[in-house]
Amino acid sequence: MRHICINCGYIYDPKKGDPMNDIPPGTAFEDLPDEWVCPMCYATTENFDPLD
């Protein structure tokens, strides 16, 4: 499921992954590493809301 950053509106889409943090496509939001942060505003995962 896609998740949205409540601080800046960045959308984490598992289909795309996150190249800014070297996260490969196909990585579920729940499987992101603990140290992952929003590539735009550096908010941590607890600042993300489910989108779909």
Partner: protein, 818 residues
């Protein structure tokens, strides 16, 4: 460990503080015709409606029974359990005696449910199958006192059977006593069966003995069985009186229609006596037994008690109504309730025994993610209104000693939303708060802390610089001899920074608080004597990633765009409405306003946004224009420049200004200066802007705070923050157009969030250039005083809703953090 059951969404304690645990009974194919008919039509959604009604009526757990002749119980139950599990907050009770059906439900239920039920009817075959499943899936289980001779009627039989079941469940299968809820069975006293005249007494005595003789177990009753055969209205009263007696006898849980519980206080003395006579078989009139007297009494009174006409408020105890006012954030009718309560309570008792616990409950709900911040603020408004109403009625010496807390935003920092949220939460949890305001020097804080003799000092500050101010002030507090613990909060703080830099210089605890509720928790810990300084364990905290470009190779051949002018211009005639399309609604609704989706489903969240959030948003946009709340103004310009190492030399007429930017310590060692060409490469141009939405909205925001309109205060403040960002986004786009970057506007708002355009803008004070000192040369160049913007001694811009940036045109320039 507190014995609990759980749904996907929440845990529910089996032993409620206020007993009983209410188990909704209307989703039972045998007990509810409406439910049965929906089930027979395969209308599972309709079944869910009934379940949701039970939840709304106050059920803590829902009993689900689909066993009905001609139906496929396994299919019905698994469909219902799957549907209910995703939609109900309350945990389920799987009501079935078929082991295969029970197992299918346990396997798919995403929580800890209760199985209803086991007994010894077949001598001990089925019970062993079900106990094995209960153990395997970690469930709880209801045990009925039924043995091979049938349902236990006497206290002795009930207790003996319970003991035998306890033996099997605990000793053979390793269940814990608190996994079992014993139901010693209720039989009606309303059908005229002579053998059942003492049925209530037998059951109540059994409750007492089970609780005493089988320590740790829970008890349960199907309460309404007591009144089978009687008229509907009298049933409700008898059920309530019986429930009360059962709770007194040790009842933990009741299967009952939550919507039909009549509070005992609402049962008249006379009606209550009638009920007690029937329950305890007290013969007062030798001519007729208590049953006949009961029936006659309620035939006479039934007519005048059509209580459906009464409003909900009237039917409940005023104490509960007041608590609901706070929890629901509802001010209408509040003073009426307070006046009713004042006839039998002191103002102080109303505050301490009802209002403060209600706010704590609200805080707990927020902590568990069950309500959103805007609703907490609504509750706090009701709390504030109630206390304001009661305070003048209190004797002076009636206000007892409460914990006193000083709050301040530190020197040089004008941000007060965080501090004010802390004040709202603390003051409305019954604490005495002294809110000194913003930009508070250390000396003033020390002086006021002594003057008010405060127990705790809370310091707040948004800026990176404020964190340094806090750190540097700790030795001063120590030298001044203060002993109050210090709570620190602010966006730039981390537990690591507080533990390593702020804790050591001060003797009393220094505690990092992530939000207002962490502050509340700290105050409670202080009262309990358990408040400890923040510690930091590097190994247990993951090192955050540092997103951004992975290469330091920056294309040096990008053509420098031609600028429309060099120097500075000021613009005041911007229609606020042009900013609206640039407002980041997601960040506004979810982030600033706290309307997060959390545990809601997508549809429920969409409804909330459309019904509650968007109308407020539209109203703010209207007021932004009509009431001139927003007055967008811009100071901006383009300047020739050249990079030299980590510095950017900006040429303003005959003057040169040096902007020194930090460089990343780790690869790829990015630095803003790298995105501009050196003198040897031919030099470059840089854009700068300061944008503000003016002082009006800040003033309107503070007026709301002063008027205790906490909810609207947070909303308007959040709106002002996001529309300031929208202005920055809009003006950046204007400047890209002026630079000739035509057609590079993102298609969606998300596109702006991820910089789908050429170049970047770096805000001073943000991760790529955290140092606000750059404001000094920029103010020399842009003269934003002309649009009413000034600098504090900490280089912060005033009014609060102002932002600044340097604009880089290089296509590789994007956000990064140093």
């Amino acid at each position: 460990m507190i014995p609990s059951v759980a749904s996907l969404f929440q845990a529910t304690e089996l032993g409620q503080d206020i007993r009983p645990l209410v188990i909704g009974e209307r989703t039972n194919a045998n007990g509810s015709r409406r439910f049965r008919e929906l089930l027979l039509n395969d209308d599972y959604q309709g079944c869910l409606e009934i379940a949701l009604e039970q939840e709304a009526a106050g059920a803590h757990v829902l009993d689900v029974c689909a066993a009905y002749a001609g139906r496929d119980e396994l299919r019905d139950m698994t469909e219902l359990v799957r549907l209910f599990a995703g939609s109900l907050r309350m945990p389920l009770m799987i009501d079935s005696t078929t082991p295969s059906c029970i197992e299918a439900c346990l396997r798919i239920y995403p929580g800890r449910c209760i199985v209803n039920s086991i007994n010894l009817e077949d001598g001990g075959v089925n019970i062993r199958k079900v106990c094995a499943l209960v153990k395997k899936y970690g469930a709880a289980v209801v045990a009925l006192t039924i043995n091979e001779n049938g349902m236990a009627m006497t206290t002795e039989d009930k207790v003996t059977t319970a003991r035998e079941i306890h033996d099997i469940a605990v000793n053979e299968f390793g269940l814990r006593p608190h996994d079992i809820l014993f139901d010693p069975l209720t039989f009606t006293v309303g059908a005229g069966d002579e053998t059942l005249r003492d049925a209530a007494t037998q059951t109540l005595d059994a409750l007492r003995r089970i609780k005493a003789e089988l320590p740790g177990v829970f008890t349960l009753l199907g309460v309404s069985n007591i009144s089978f055969g009687l008229s509907p209205y009298s049933r409700r009263l008898l059920n309530s009186v019986f429930l009360h007696e059962a709770v007194e006898a040790g009842l933990d849980a009741a299967i009952i229609d939550a919507a039909k519980i009549v509070p005992l206080a609402r049962v008249s003395e006379e009606d209550r006596e009638m009920c007690l006579d029937l329950l305890f078989d007290r013969v007062k009139d030798p001519e007729q037994g208590p049953l006949m007297a009961f029936i006659e009494h309620f035939t006479e009174t039934d007519g005048e008690n059509t209580d459906d006409a009464e409003s909900d408020d009237d039917r409940r105890r005023p104490e509960q109504v007041l608590v609901d006012h706070v929890v629901d954030g509802r001010k209408e009718g509040l003073e009426d309730q307070l006046n009713i309560l004042l006839t039998r309570n002191t103002p102080l008792a109303i505050i301490n025994d009802l209002l403060v616990p209600a706010m704590r409950h609200v805080g707990d709900l927020f902590g568990r993610g069950e309500i959103l911040l805007p609703f907490v603020l609504k509750s706090a408004e009701v709390m504030k209104a109630a206390v304001s109403f009661l305070e003048p009625l209190m004797e002076k010496d009636e206000s007892e000693a409460v914990t006193k807390i000083l709050l301040a935003t530190v020197q040089g920092d004008v941000h007060d939303i965080g501090k004010n949220l802390v004040e709202i939460i603390l003051s409305n949890n019954g604490y005495q708060v002294y809110n000194l305001g913003i930009k508070m020097p250390v000396e003033t804080i020390i002086k006021k802390a002594r003057e008010y003799d405060v127990d705790i000092i809370g310091l707040s500050g948004l800026l990176v610089k404020s964190a340094i101010v806090m750190q540097e002030s700790m030795p001063q507090y120590e030298a001044a001899g203060l002993q109050a613990p210090v709570l620190l909060g602010g966006a730039a703080l981390t537990p690591k920074f507080v533990a390593e830099s702020c804790v050591p210089p001060y003797s009393s605890p220094v505690v990092y608080c992530a939000d207002a509720f962490a502050g509340l928790k700290a105050v409670r810990e202080f009262e309990a004597g358990t408040l400890a300084a923040t510690t930091y364990n590097a190994s247990s905290t993951p090192k955050r990633m540092r997103p951004g470009a992975k290469t330091a190779e920056i294309d040096r051949t990008i053509t420098v765009p031609s600028v429309p002018f060099t120097g500075v211009r000021h613009t005041r005639d911007i229609d606020p409405a042009v900013l609206f399309p640039f407002i980041n609604e997601q960040a506004l609704f979810r982030g600033r306003w706290g309307y997060r989706r959390g545990k809601m489903g997508a549809e429920e969240y969409r409804d909330l946004i459309e019904k509650d959030v968007r109308p407020l948003y539209e109203d703010f946009k209207r007021r932004a224009v009509e009431d001139a709340l927003i007055q967008p103004q811009v100071a901006y310009g383009y300047f020739p420049c050249r990079s030299e190492g980590d510095a950017l030399i900006v040429i303003d007429g005959t003057q040169e200004h040096v902007f020194t930017f930090p460089r990343q310590e780790d690869p790829p060692h990015l630095c803003i200066a790298d995105y501009f060409r050196t003198a040897e490469e031919g030099g470059d141009v840089a854009g700068f802007f300061v944008v503000t939405i003016g002082p009006n909205i800040s003033e309107a925001t503070h007026e709301l705070y002063d008027a205790n309109a906490y909810h609207d205060y947070l909303m308007l403040h959040g709106f002002s923050v996001e529309i300031t960002d929208a202005l920055a986004e809009y003006w950046h786009e204007m400047m890209r157009e002026e630079l000739g970057f035509v057609g590079d506007s993102p298609d969606t708002l998300t596109g702006y969030a991820v910089q789908e355009y050429r170049g970047s803008r770096y805000g001073f004070g943000y991760p790529a250039c955290p140092d606000l000192d750059a404001h000094k040369p920029m103010f020399d160049m842009l003269k934003p005083e002309k649009i009413g913007v000034s600098l504090t001694e900490q280089m912060e811009m005033v009014p609060e809703q102002t932002t600044s940036a340097i604009i880089a045109h290089h296509p590789q320039a994007k956000y990064f953090a140093v």
